[in-house]
C-alpha cells in the first residue's frame, strides 16, 4: 500500500518542482490535443451542418457510416496511418511519421466522426419549419447555417467537448504514429504507459494527475462558455 501514498506524495513534489521532462510532455500534449481539436472542429462542424441540412442521395448511409466512425478503434487508425506515413509508403514523402504532425493527423481522424456525427444530430434536432422559414426569408446556405448554429450552440459545444475528450485520452494511435520519443512526441498518455512499465509509479501518478487537471480545465472553460450563453 505504501507505494501508492509515496507515489502520490512524490508526484505532487514532481509537479511543483516543474520537472523538465514533465514540462516537455505537457507542452507536446497541449500542442497535439489543441491543434487536433481545432482542426477537427473547423472541418467537422461545417461538414456536419451541410450533411444535416442538405438533401442528397445516400444521406442515411453516409450518416450511419459517420456514426460507425465514432466507435473506430484508435489503434486501427494508428496502424493505417503508420502504414501510409512510412518512408516507403504512399505519403512517406511528407516525413510525418514520428512527428507531431502525424500525431495531429491521427487525432483529427479519430475526433472527426464524433464531431461531425454530434453536429449532424444537433442540426437535425432543430424544427424543420425553422430552416424552411430562414430560407423563405432569403438566407443562403451559409447564412442559414450561422443562424441555426446560434440556436444549437449548446449541442455543438457538447460535440466539441466530446471530440476533445477522445483526443486527450487517446493512447494507442499516438504511440504508434508518434513513437513515444522523449521531448518530441511523448504525450501524457504514452508517458503514463512507459513509466508504469518501468515501475516509476510516482512519475506515472504525477502525469496522471496533470492529465486529469488539464482535461478538467479545458472542459470547465468550454462548459463555462456553453452555460454562460444559455437562456434561462
Amino acid at each position: 500500500m505504501d507505494f501508492i501514498f509515496d507515489g502520490i506524495k512524490k508526484a505532487i513534489e514532481l509537479i511543483f518542482s516543474l520537472d523538465r521532462d514533465i514540462l516537455d510532455i505537457l507542452r507536446v500534449s497541449l500542442l497535439v490535443s489543441i491543434s487536433a481539436t481545432a482542426i477537427a472542429v473547423l472541418i467537422g462542424v461545417p461538414s456536419g451542418a451541410i450533411i444535416a441540412i442538405k438533401k442528397f442521395p445516400l444521406k442515411k448511409i453516409l450518416i450511419s457510416l459517420i456514426n460507425t466512425g465514432m466507435g473506430l478503434p484508435p489503434v486501427v487508425i494508428g496502424l493505417v496511418i503508420s502504414l501510409f506515413l512510412f518512408r516507403n509508403g504512399p505519403f512517406g514523402f511528407l516525413q510525418w511519421l514520428y512527428t507531431v504532425k502525424g500525431m495531429i493527423l491521427a487525432q483529427v481522424i479519430i475526433a472527426l466522426p464524433i464531431i461531425i456525427g454530434l453536429t449532424v444530430a444537433a442540426f437535425q434536432s432543430v424544427d424543420k419549419k425553422m430552416y424552411l422559414q430562414i430560407i423563405a426569408l432569403g438566407a443562403n446556405t451559409s447564412q442559414s447555417i450561422i443562424i441555426l448554429l446560434k440556436e444549437i450552440r449548446l449541442s455543438v459545444l457538447a460535440a466539441i467537448i466530446a471530440g476533445f475528450g477522445s483526443i486527450i485520452s487517446e493512447v494507442g494511435a499516438v504511440m504508434m504514429v508518434g513513437g513515444n520519443i522523449k521531448s518530441q512526441t511523448r504525450v501524457l498518455t504514452t508517458a503514463i504507459v512507459l513509466e508504469t512499465n518501468k515501475g516509476n509509479f510516482d512519475f506515472a501518478i504525477a502525469i496522471g494527475l496533470i492529465l486529469l487537471v488539464m482535461s478538467f480545465i479545458v472542459n470547465l472553460t468550454l462548459t463555462y462558455i456553453q452555460q454562460k450563453n444559455r437562456r434561462d
Binding site: L31, V41, N88, G92
Partner: protein, 273 residues
C-alpha cells in the same frame, strides 16, 4: 459567440503551426527497449544533438521489430542485440556493416525462495532444464526481441521445450515483462541492466548468472542506402562515428555507477585515438 470560439481555435492553430514546422536533419534509430529503459540512450543522444545539431528519433522496440524496420528501409541505423539475426541482415545486403561495440549479460530472475531450485544449477541450460521439469511458471517476452531470441536459443541448447501450461508469452518490452513476472512470482530471463534499473520495485532476485550462454552483445548496423534511397546515410554515419568514439566510451563506462551503484554496460570497441 461561435465566431469567437472559432477565432480562438484558429488563433491557437496559427500559434501551433510554427511550432510544428522545422523537421530536417533527422536520424531514425531503431533500437531495443533495454537501452532506452535504463536511460543510457537519453544521455548519449542529448550530447549527440548538442554536438552535431542532428535530431535522433529513437524507436525503442524489440530487436526483431527493429530489424524489420531496417529491412523496410524505415530506419537509418540499428542498435540491436541478436547476433544471428544481425549477421543474416548484413549478409542479405540490408546493412552496410556490423560493429559489436558493447556488452552486458543476461540473468535468470525468479522468486527469492526459488521453488524450482535453479540456484544450484551447473549452467544456464541446466537451470532451464530444471524449470521445464519442475513445471514452474516462466514469463517470456514473446516478441521476437533480442532477449526473446536468446531465451529460445537457450531452450534449444538445453534440448527442452518450455512447459506449455506454465509458459506465459506477454509480448511486451523488457520492463513490462519483468513486472509481470514479479506480480506472478514467475521465472524470467532479463538483461542485467534492465533488472538493475527496475530493482527498487521488484521482489524477484537473480537466481542464476555468469554463464557463457548469457552474454549479451550489442551491435550497430547502418542500413544500406543502395537498397533504400530514402535512408539518411550521412546522418547514420555521423551517429555511428559518435557512438564509436572515446566520448561515448567514457559515458557508457560511467553510466549507472551513481544511480545503480555499478557499471551497466561494458564498452568493447577499440576507439581510435
Amino acid at each position: 459567440m461561435l465566431k469567437k470560439i472559432m477565432l480562438f481555435f484558429l488563433g491557437l492553430m496559427l500559434i501551433a503551426i510554427p511550432l510544428i514546422a522545422q523537421e530536417n536533419k533527422i536520424i531514425i534509430l531503431a533500437t531495443t527497449t533495454s537501452v532506452q529503459d535504463t536511460g543510457l540512450l537519453d544521455v548519449l543522444l542529448e550530447k549527440f544533438t548538442t554536438e552535431t545539431g542532428y535530431t535522433v528519433k529513437p524507436i525503442a522496440v524489440g530487436t526483431g521489430q527493429a530489424i524489420k524496420l531496417g529491412m523496410n528501409g524505415e530506419a537509418d541505423i540499428l542498435w540491436v542485440h541478436s547476433p544471428d539475426d544481425e549477421k543474416k541482415f548484413v549478409e542479405e545486403g540490408y546493412g552496410i556493416s556490423r560493429t559489436t561495440f558493447m556488452h552486458n549479460d543476461f540473468v535468470l530472475l525468479g522468486p527469492a525462495n526459488d521453488p524450482a531450485g535453479v540456484k544450484t544449477a551447473k549452467s544456464i541450460t541446466n537451470a532451464f532444464k530444471i524449470i521445464s521439469e519442475k513445471a514452474v511458471l516462466f514469463v517470456s517476452r514473446g516478441d521476437q526481441s533480442g532477449t526473446h531470441k536468446k531465451e529460445l536459443k537457450i531452450w534449444k541448447i538445453a534440448e527442452r521445450t518450455p512447459n506449455k501450461e506454465k509458459y506465459v508469452e506477454v509480448g511486451q518490452g523488457m520492463a513490462a515483462t519483468v513486472r509481470i513476472a514479479d506480480e506472478k512470482q514467475a521465472y524470467c530471463l532479463a538483461d542485467r541492466s534492465s533488472y538493475l534499473s527496475l530493482k527498487k520495485n521488484l521482489s524477484l532476485t537473480i537466481l542464476f548468472e555468469n554463464d557463457k550462454n548469457l552474454l549479451n552483445l550489442y551491435s550497430l548496423i547502418p542500413v544500406n542506402t543502395q537498397k533504400f534511397s530514402k535512408v539518411n546515410e550521412k546522418g547514420a554515419k555521423i551517429l555511428l562515428d559518435f557512438l564509436l568514439s572515446a566520448k561515448t566510451k567514457e559515458i557508457v563506462e560511467n553510466f549507472g555507477r551513481e544511480k545503480y551503484g555499478q557499471q551497466l554496460f561494458f564498452y568493447d570497441y577499440e576507439v581510435k585515438k
